[in-house]
């Protein structure tokens, strides 16, 4: 478990908290097989993290490079801070480089955006209030 103090500047990220199963990736040429068994897919349901995110979007592209796209197609539950394109563009060059040589760095960045369980905005607000303006969130 990593704990990171997530700044309130995370407003640049859309928070997605759904359980997951990605049917779009099945059978795509060049992509990995679906890592989820039929039982896991059934448990994940149809409103999945992967299904909620654009397949060709920058976040899913990065997740795929790190092997995490299939994680987001599973039962979870996880909560993910998904940077928008402006955040991707503002990151230092190479931060979200999807080449295999950058997999270590990319994996670290992405897993620090994924929380254990289901965390709603109101839950974070309450935590910030309790801690007098600061919230520390456990990431996977």
């Amino acid at each position: 478990m990593n704990s990171r103090a997530l700044a309130l500047g995370m407003a640049a990220a859309a928070m997605v908290a759904v359980s997951a199963c990605n049917k779009d990736r099945n059978g795509n040429s060049g992509g990995p097989p679906n890592a989820q068994t039929p039982k896991a897919q059934k448990a994940a349901g149809t409103k999945t993290m992967a299904a909620a995110l654009p397949v060709g979007g920058r976040f899913m592209t990065a997740a795929r490079a790190a092997g995490l796209d299939q994680t987001l197609a599973g039962p979870g539950p996880y909560t993910v801070f998904v940077p928008d394109d402006a955040a991707f563009n503002a990151a230092p060059p190479g931060t979200f480089d999807t080449s295999p040589q950058n997999r270590t760095k990319l994996t670290g960045i992405l897993t620090n955006l994924i929380l254990d369980g289901t965390v709603m905005v109101a839950d974070i607000d309450k935590s910030i209030d309790n801690a007098k303006g600061r919230a520390v969130l456990a990431t996977v």
Partner: protein, 253 residues
């Protein structure tokens, strides 16, 4: 089909045994990057080609791809010797790695740059190279032969069971899916958190309520009991002492 930089591990493995001339029509192969070329010098028997993050050993006699080699940054391969300085680089306790990879007999586990090296304690001879997910080296790597048994934690076995097409393997923090024919890790099926023990203090970062939506009507925070989710379980926490007091529910079994 020319690859566009996203060759799947299973496809990469299928190139083993193929003529190099065929492989280059599928994957863009080139000389090794300078960062790793010193690790894989050409020999009278073999030379190496690199593409899409994969390293291929090519037999000079017939130009067939002889092997797919795990490409681990700055790494050492089975059959090499770990430098003496790395023998003091112990497996960290993060995520319970040290308990999962203990030393035993003449076998020592050492850790460097996201990789666990299983070595001879005396000579440093590398017997096995184990990618640690925290280092980002899981997907695309070959499952260590010594760890190819089914070891998925009990509460996840109902979801991640081996089939004829896919196998699942647990390592701290992650359940991998691998191809049983090539033993190449193809995906991260699930990310796991360490979970809690009864009586332990609530870890930092879990003061935020995180119970899955379907269980919130039952397990909600009160002045006398908090509920937190981790690793497939909902735990009860004493708000005063901040100690984990009970497992309230198992969501997977």
């Amino acid at each position: 089909m020319k690859n566009n930089g996203c060759l799947a591990p299973g496809q990469a493995a299928k190139l083993v045994g193929s003529p190099l001339s065929t492989a280059v029509t599928i994957a863009a192969l080139s000389a090794l990057p300078a960062s790793v070329s010193y690790l894989y010098p050409d020999t009278p028997d073999y030379y190496y080609r690199y593409g899409d993050g994969y390293l291929y050993q090519v037999d000079r006699t017939d130009n067939l791809i002889a092997a797919l080699i795990p490409l681990i940054a700055g790494g050492y391969l089975p059959g090499q010797y770990l430098p003496a300085a790395y023998m003091d680089s112990y497996v960290p306790d993060y995520y319970g790695y040290d308990a999962f990879y203990p030393d035993y007999g003449d076998v020592c586990n050492r850790y460097y740059y996201g990789v666990i090296y299983q070595v001879d304690c005396v000579t440093g001879y590398v017997d096995n190279v184990i990618p640690a997910y925290a280092g980002g080296y899981g997907v695309g790597q070959i499952l260590p032969s010594a760890y190819s048994y089914y070891n998925v934690p009990y509460q996840y076995r109902n979801y991640y069971y081996n089939t004829a097409d896919y196998g699942y393997w647990y390592a701290p923090g992650v359940i991998y899916q691998y191809d049983p024919r090539s033993s190449i890790i193809t995906s991260v099926a699930a990310l796991l958190s360490p979970g809690f023990s009864i009586g332990q203090p609530l870890p930092v970062g879990y003061d935020v309520y995180n119970v899955p939506y379907a269980y919130r009507a039952t397990y909600y925070d009160t002045p006398t009991a908090w509920y937190r989710y981790s690793n497939g379980y909902i735990y009860q926490v004493d708000p005063t002492t901040q100690l984990v007091t009970a497992i309230a529910a198992s969501l997977l079994t």
